[in-house]
């Protein structure tokens, strides 16, 4: 079919959808990456759930459409001089969807609930900076001993274990969202069912049909209801990204939250600006098992990192949907050094010079084509991971490296990384939960074996992170964290390869979708044009 006809058909479809949507009082058909595992904010862990919960609930602070932290239920806050006590003032007009006022006690109840081991919260550790949280979650203390108390209905006090300058960022996470205590008490785990659901955000839950759709409708009790234009949101789960794209092209979906990489060149050619590719707070990397010979030699780790052509990976393997990475902490992150953030010393060298330097480093370490290193790359099943591993093996061949592969599904791969750590080199990725460098740098602490796939053990690095944790001045803290990252990049226990990008397909009819590093798009700030 000629391209012009295709484009006309697509535009007609979008127009039809727009008209249809307008007729149904602004319904937003929102493509989602899959089903939520749960709508209980205390049990969630995925981005899909975050998007849904962000529409239904309002935390003390929230993200606006550009991922800036702005007041939510709390209108203002203050910290003690030592940075450990935070006092939030709650807005008087905040209401639950059943008309109950939102009070400080609701947050006390909610934070105690997520730390209760009986809740089985996957992400309770996000809020471990709160006093006694970790001990309560481990069953060593009672939940009433959590460092959270309601001074009165409008004043909430949270005491932390230590100064945590990124605490506000933590509170934007879905784990910080409140539950309606009376509903939880009355219905137990069934408080998430539509007939029992009470929320305090811009929308309420109308229905949840697994594998089909989740329908939200505007919450008229919401304090900012007058500014909410979209009346109804239908979240449609798409396990297959191409299905969402066809739905979008047929005018049945306003936005897709992810796209098949191989289809992006075509979509860009056909639909131009509707394809939104934006930097995303995540890093795709290879962990080198630095506790194993010969990877305990930093020269080898550096040589392996230097010869990887990240531009090739980004452009050819990931169709331009990823960005070459030369540092561990993704650019654009909050509370950091901006353009002055560290990166590999050799990041500006040409590939040819990098290859020469890498060969020299390997020779120094006693390896090369005559004495090759055998490396097994472990990765979880995925076509892109396979293509990347194959390309990297080819790049390493110049160093005389002989590569084999160990491919497993995600569960088996990550169970191996967590428990056995028998890998030479393992693929992994990390998407930031909050916009702070600590959320990336803490992965490499020696006392964090769950995430430290490079088995990195450098007391100086850990010491700098500890020091940053005690520093309340954000600029000074950023400098300290920068020093830590510099040490890390020099030691190279994990090789950053690419920064993630978010990739969405957004109809022209959808107004207010702003690209941002957190890839957050609250429906309450959007509208559908006629």
């Amino acid at each position: 079919m000629p391209r012009s006809i295709l484009r006309t058909a697509a535009l007609t479809s979008v127009l039809a959808l727009t008209v249809g949507a307008a007729a149904s009082a602004q319904t937003y058909f929102r493509g989602s990456d899959g089903d939520p595992e749960t709508l209980d904010q205390h049990k969630t862990s995925t981005v899909v759930e975050a998007n849904l919960l962000r529409d239904m609930f309002e935390g003390l602070v929230i993200y606006d459409s550009e991922a800036n932290v702005i007041p939510g239920v709390a209108t203002e806050w203050a910290t003690s001089d030592d940075g450990t006590v935070w006092t939030f003032t709650l807005r008087e007009e905040a209401r639950w969807s059943n008309g109950d006022p939102v009070v400080a006690g609701d947050f006390v109840y909610s934070l105690q609930r997520i730390m209760d081991p009986a809740t089985g919260a996957k992400y309770a550790n996000i809020l471990y900076p709160i006093q006694n949280a970790a001990a309560i979650n481990s069953g060593e203390m009672e939940k009433e001993e959590l460092g959270v108390r309601a001074i009165d209905d409008q004043t909430l006090e949270i005491t932390l274990e230590g100064p945590t300058p990124f605490f506000l960022e933590l509170l934007t996470h879905q784990t910080g969202l409140p539950v309606h205590p009376a509903s939880v008490e009355e219905h137990g785990n069934d408080f998430v069912l539509p007939e029992n659901h009470v929320s305090n955000g811009a929308y309420t839950l109308e229905s949840f049909t697994l594998n089909d759709r989740i329908v939200l409708t505007k919450n008229e009790e919401f304090h900012a209801a007058d500014s909410v234009e979209i009346e109804r949101v239908e979240f449609l789960p798409f396990e297959d990204r191409a299905t969402c794209v066809r739905g979008w092209e047929a005018g049945e979906v306003h936005s897709c939250s992810d796209l098949p990489a191989e289809d992006i060149p075509r979509l860009e050619a056909e639909y131009g600006d509707a394809v939104r590719i934006a930097p995303y707070l995540g890093v795709y990397y290879y962990g080198i098992n630095s506790a194993r010979e010969p990877f305990d030699d930093p020269r080898i780790r550096q040589a392996l990192s230097m010869v990887i052509d990240r531009d090739f990976l980004a452009e050819e393997i990931f169709s331009g949907t990823m960005v070459p990475a030369y540092s561990w902490v993704p650019p654009g992150i909050g509370n950091y050094l901006g353009d002055d953030a560290p990166s590999y010393e050799w990041s500006d060298m040409s590939m040819l010079d990098r290859e020469d330097a890498a060969i020299a480093l390997m020779e120094e370490a006693g390896y090369g084509p005559d004495n090759p290193i055998e490396i097994e790359i472990s990765y979880n099943t995925s076509e892109n991971h396979r293509n990347a591993a194959t390309a990297i093996a080819d790049m390493w061949s110049i160093l005389g490296v002989e590569t084999t592969y160990n491919v497993r599904d995600a569960s088996a791969h990550y169970a191996m990384l967590r428990d056995e750590k028998v890998h030479d080199v393992a693929r992994a990725g990390w998407i930031g939960d909050y916009s702070d460098p600590q959320n990336f740098l803490f992965l490499n602490r020696a006392d964090n074996p769950g995430f430290n796939y490079g088995n990195y053990d450098n007391p100086e690095y850990d010491g700098l992170l500890d020091q940053a944790g005690e520093t309340t001045d954000l600029q000074e803290r950023a400098q300290i964290l920068g020093q830590a990252e510099e040490i890390f990049l020099a030691d190279n226990p994990q090789i950053p390869l690419l920064y993630y990008s978010s990739r969405s397909l957004v109809s022209d009819a959808l107004v207010g979708w702003e690209d941002n590093i957190q890839n957050v798009h609250p429906t309450r700030f959007m509208s559908i044009s006629e």
Binding site: A9, S138, L210
Partner: protein, 305 residues
Amino acid sequence: MLAYAIRRLLGAIPLLFFIITAAFFMMRVAPGGPFDQERTLEPSVMANLNATFGLDLPLWQQYARYLGNLLQGDMGPSFVYRDFDVQEILGAGLPVSIQLGGMALLLALLIGATLGSIAALRQNSWVDYAVIATATFGITIPNFVVAPVLSLIFAVWLGWLPAIGWGSWQQMVLPVIALALPQVAVVARLIRGAMIEALRSDHVRTARAYGLPTRMIVIKHALRAASLPAVSYMGPAAAALLTGSIVIEQIFGIPGIGRYFVQGALNRDYTLVMGTVIIVAVFVVIFNLIVDLLYALLDPRVRYD
């Protein structure tokens, strides 16, 4: 025959027990668990989750507990979709899969039998060649190719039918056709071959000698005999179709149970996988029984009493 059917169903109970036991332990042999995902969990959090779902118990206790609950009709909670029990998940998806598979099955039988019969009656004519060529095409082109192409042409380009969803008749057209196409091809080939053989049989020749009209001979005598291979084939095929087509359901965004077979296993959602295994096993048992009973109806020489 009723006694035979009851005997067969009772005989399936030990088989189901064996399947459940084998599936339970085989799943646990696979490395990794339901909470081993890209985002590794804190050890204390993992311990809480294991305790919540009873995964901290010895395996034999977990097995005994599972069987005990199953005997009471409880398939347990999903390890991944935590707001739902396995019964709720399968209860919502299975009717959709059955609807989709049932319509595809019916379509495949009707069109496949018609095409196969026509081809057999016009053996070695252009009609025959056209049917064989189409059938070969239908079998060799996988439905993960056919389905997106249908969707692209009729939903995206022409805008005649929806690209996604399930419920209205318009939403059913493309997925049913896409799911039925390979089966149409298989049925057509099976019927054609068997029909040619039947038309050459003595009793058909006798019927012709008596001067019975061709239509009567085909429908009453030849088709009955020719349908036996198709019936044998459709037994397991029906079990597979009715319990969900992973590919078609994903491509058209249909809320059936197909995706749980793969996704459940990848997520190590033990209870959900067990649920799907049980459902498929039950369907296979039932459809094999139906096939055997149909055989007896179609072929008077077969008797089960």
